[in-house]
């Protein structure tokens, strides 16, 4: 084979064209594959935030001034989510009609805070974050107060508005 075969002005142009055509065809094929792959992976980000009111028990279950753990189903768990389809929250009955719900996720790195009722504190097991009963930071590295969820009372039931895992 003579590598210089056709190496005149028109031959050089021909090769340039074929080179570009090949690269273009490859890029086109790659794009066709990348579109569904990338789209599929980022689809969860594009879906709007789903929120749903979830009942966590009748009002009479909760004593005034007590903070207890409640758990409820996420907004729209996939059928195979199993136990991970549930979220927990710390719920306190402030008065006859008032409730406050705190996210269990420490605002430092998301570890589960525990309510220590005698001390009136939320404490995190990971890096030593501590919060007061109103969710404000009492000690340690957390940058923000505990996130709160909306709570309402409907037909004698306490309901919590599901929300995304708080990312601080």
């Amino acid at each position: 084979m003579n590598p210089n075969h056709g190496e005149d002005a028109s031959g050089a142009g021909r090769r340039k064209f074929f080179a570009r055509l090949s690269i273009g065809a490859g890029a086109f094929g790659a794009l066709l594959v990348a579109f569904p792959v990338a789209g599929f992976l980022i689809a969860p980000l594009l879906r709007g935030i789903k929120e749903r009111w979830r009942p966590v028990g009748p009002v009479s279950n909760f004593k005034v001034a007590e903070t207890v753990e409640v758990s409820y189903e996420d907004a729209s768990p996939l059928p195979w989510a199993g136990v991970t389809g549930k979220t927990a929250a710390w719920l306190r009955r402030d008065s006859d009609t008032q409730f406050t719900a705190f996210s269990v996720n420490c605002t430092h790195l998301g570890c589960p805070v525990r309510w220590i009722s005698d001390a009136n504190l939320f404490m995190c097991p990971c890096h030593g974050g501590v919060y007061y009963s109103n969710g404000n930071v009492a000690a340690g590295p957390p940058p923000h107060p505990l996130t709160q969820y909306s709570v309402r009372v409907r037909n004698g039931n306490v309901e919590i508005l599901t929300g995304p895992t708080p990312i601080t």
Partner: protein
């Protein structure tokens, strides 16, 4: 029979040209006396191959469904034939990979092997280091027990600190708004397909560069690298004194690699992988997530960052580490290679090993975490029958003081040991501290009654360090 096999091989080799293509690569000349310092790269590769083989075996039984993974892991660990050994080998294979990738990097740094013309060897190694750590993180998460599921949240929170796109990244990691059905399959696909695929590619490139640029000769003080003359000098060296890689140098790699695999096997058999820590139920809040040993030092750094700075440092620290590692061969690609002429390289390695080691030990003890298991103080420790003192000791436990303060060896370590606090602080100073708190201590002004405070003070006033 042998002659038949030989004829088959000759036919196959003739049609494929394999020995003609691979023989020269296997026998490519390498500098003499490369020695035992050069085995850690292949040791890492061998550990990776153990991971591939044991990982494929585990994947045949692992169920990557968020709801079922834990059950399949319990079955693999406790019922499946050889499942315990496989999980153990996969765990210690990961440990070996991380250990040897670190040792290999230290060796290359100390002997200046990253210098001209091997800068890209080093850079591709940095990529492999990052991929190895990512494999370690995603792997411990696939255990999908309590630790695993909380790790995904910790990962999402950290990614969430990225400016502008943080929230998107966090949702991308979780596969949605919360941990759920999509989360685990995502990590599974990354751990099993995507990252290993990248590792194969980059390892191939890394090995190609080792052949292309040649194995660095053992350094000698007073023989600096000069990019103008090095290549010609190296060619001359291996032409005059080079020995064939196979088997003159390869035997050490093979022997050490086999030793590594034997170590992985023995540890996997006798110690096994970490026990599963309960189902991935995010409503069980009595969880204390901890990373596996190879990331404990990072966990400790996260606890020790100065308050307020961590929002930035969480991202800046890894970024800074990456930039420094990338800059190493770009700013220092010439000159002396011998560690004896580069004392700073030794100092830097000692400093990094000591820092990581210190953080590692700190992570193991994690004194900043409250000791939720602290039990009420014994009468013997209280050492008084005064009812107010006894009441104060009871409150010391109930009000969670003991979770963070030690008395007579009992309690948490977040705050100062209060065994002899009465010799250091007056009751007034104690009162101010208890009511106002400090950076790492809650203020109790809002939650203590006057009589409770008095009881705690009465108790603390008896803490003079004398054993009772």
């Amino acid at each position: 029979m042998r002659s038949v096999l030989k004829r088959v091989w000759l036919w196959f080799d003739d049609r494929t040209g394999l020995s003609k293509a691979l023989g020269p690569i296997m026998r490519h000349p390498v500098p003499p006396k490369s020695g035992w310092m050069y085995v850690f790269g292949t040791a890492t590769l061998f550990a990776f191959l153990v991971q591939v083989a044991t990982g494929i075996a585990l994947a045949t039984a692992y169920n990557s469904s968020t709801g079922e993974a834990y059950k399949s892991l319990e079955w693999i660990s406790h019922q499946a034939t050889l499942g315990h050994l496989l999980r153990g080998m996969h765990y210690f294979g990961a440990s070996a990979m991380i250990l040897f990738v670190g040792i290999h990097m230290i060796r290359v740094f100390l002997t200046g092997s990253y210098k001209f013309p091997r800068e890209v060897n080093w850079l591709s190694g940095v990529v492999l280091l990052a991929l190895t750590l990512l494999m370690g993180f995603t792997g411990q998460l696939l255990r999908w027990d309590q630790g695993g599921v909380w790790s995904t949240i910790v990962a999402a929170e950290q990614a969430g600190r990225t400016p502008f796109i943080g929230h998107w990244l966090a949702r991308f990691i979780l596969g949605g708004q919360t941990v759920g059905g999509a989360t685990l399959s995502r990590f599974f696909a990354f751990h099993v397909f995507f990252i290993p695929g990248l590792i194969f590619l980059v390892v191939g490139f890394h090995l190609y560069l080792v052949i292309q640029n040649g194995i660095s000769e053992p350094p000698k003080a007073g023989r600096p690298v000069d990019p103008k003359t090095y290549r010609a000098w190296y060619q001359d060296l291996i032409q005059r004194r080079g020995v064939p890689f196979w088997p003159e140098a390869a035997w050490r790699d093979a022997l050490f690699g086999a030793g590594v695999i034997a170590g992985i096997f023995v540890l996997g058999w006798f110690l096994g992988a970490p026990e599963l820590k309960g189902p991935p139920d995010l409503t069980i809040l009595k969880a204390s997530p901890r990373p596996d040993w190879y990331l404990l030092w990072y966990f400790a750094i996260m606890a020790q960052l100065p308050h307020g700075s961590e929002a930035y440092l969480i991202l800046l620290l890894p970024l800074l580490a990456a930039v420094v590692l990338i800059l190493v061969p770009l700013v220092a690609n010439r000159g002396e290679r011998s560690p004896s002429r580069r004392p700073w390289s030794i100092a830097i390695v000692i400093m990094i090993v000591l820092s990581v080691g210190t953080f590692w030990v700190a992570g193991k003890h994690s004194p900043w975490s409250p000791d939720f298991d602290a039990t009420p103080l014994h009468a013997q420790i209280i050492g008084s029958s005064n009812s107010e003192v006894v009441q104060g000791a009871k409150l010391f436990h109930e009000k969670a003081c003991e979770y963070c303060h030690t008395i007579a060896g009992q309690g948490g370590q977040r705050g100062p040991d209060l065994t002899d606090v009465a010799t250091r602080l007056t009751p007034e100073q104690m009162t101010i501290r208890i009511l106002n708190g400090a950076k790492n201590m809650p203020a109790y002004a809002g939650s203590l009654q006057a009589n409770e405070l008095n009881a705690i003070l009465a108790f603390l006033k008896t803490r003079d360090g004398m054993s009772r």
